[in-house]
Symmetry: C3
Subunit: 139 residues, 3 copies
């Protein structure tokens, strides 16, 4: 048994971090799947999905760390070739990966109390985004 859903977001860019946990959990509830997995995937090459404790201090730390590891101010061949100035966005997205796959058990997402699913938009501008959520399992 499979079930699909999608999530629409308005983001701010520059590794803007958005908590998706409620959106994902309501798709799981709708699906009727009790045992299986859920795959949450960014559509596009400048965003990532991972888990973190979603609290404001850590959100700022994470954005600063990404700026240290792959700076938005450094030159890139991609930015120079295409003029869109978002080479750093692509590199952050590829490093962190485009999605997460997590277990669903007894009809619930299996996660820690302080572990949220987050979408990170690395692009250099706000965007309207769509994410795809696919469940596979049994009711």
């Amino acid at each position: 048994m499979t079930y699909s859903g999608s999530i629409h977001l308005r983001t701010k860019g520059y590794s803007d971090i958005i908590d998706l946990t409620r959106n994902v959990e309501s798709i799981i509830a709708e699906s009727g799947i009790r045992e299986g997995i859920v795959c949450i995937s960014a559509i596009g090459s400048t965003a990532s999905i991972t888990t973190m404790e979603f609290e404001p201090a850590l959100v700022e730390d994470m954005k600063e760390k990404l700026e240290q590891l792959i700076s938005s101010r450094e030159r890139s061949r991609h930015s120079e070739t295409w003029g869109d100035d978002n080479g750093f966005s692509h590199m952050r997205a590829s490093l962190m990966g485009p999605g997460v796959t997590m277990p669903v058990s007894s009809g619930k997402l299996v996660r820690g109390t302080w572990q949220q699913i987050v979408y990170i938009d690395h692009d250099n501008r706000g965007r309207d985004r769509e994410l795809f959520v696919q469940l596979v399992g049994e009711s």
Copy 2:
């Protein structure tokens, strides 16, 4: 068909790396699933799961590299706000991701000879940890 298992670990923290391959392979054997996938997921926001060649020299290299990329000694807003001094642990976990999903074929985990599944506990103290293992496939 789905099958669930869990793995309990006692860790040391500071990106302590533990080989999970046997634990995962015995859950696959118990499951009776011959073709499908296995999703191994950390419960909590300060640990990661990935694959590596699990040998002592590389384990030390990896811990040192994580210390270089995201130092346990640098200040973080998370640590200052909550007083738990583990902002670095959260950032390492979010960067590497909370789990891996791998193929199961002919009843076996599909992996390289020198490729082990590892749990990395980035927290700043030893912890008792539980991991969730979810299989989806057919017998």
Copy 3:
């Protein structure tokens, strides 16, 4: 319902980046699965799979960034112990992860227009590589 495929590649090493999208999409088409997920997994501990916009300028940027984050010239205990000089390859692979799992819907891989699936061979020499592709879903 499950379906397995494999992909064979000849790589150049040093984080050589190869576009796998057509290979994966033809396995999805062969499978007859219309709704589900596809798990693409590297066999071995010195390669990664992620998504990126596969264009030459960004490919060079990404290789340079990986060289900055985990240099092929730095000493490692792994290289010194085993004499194979590829400690950096292992660390890059573990950091980025061995595979991606993505949704399949209406018989198609769910991805952005400029989002390709790529294999990155971090090893320090060209290699013949095999990847495993596992689909789980329904027709």
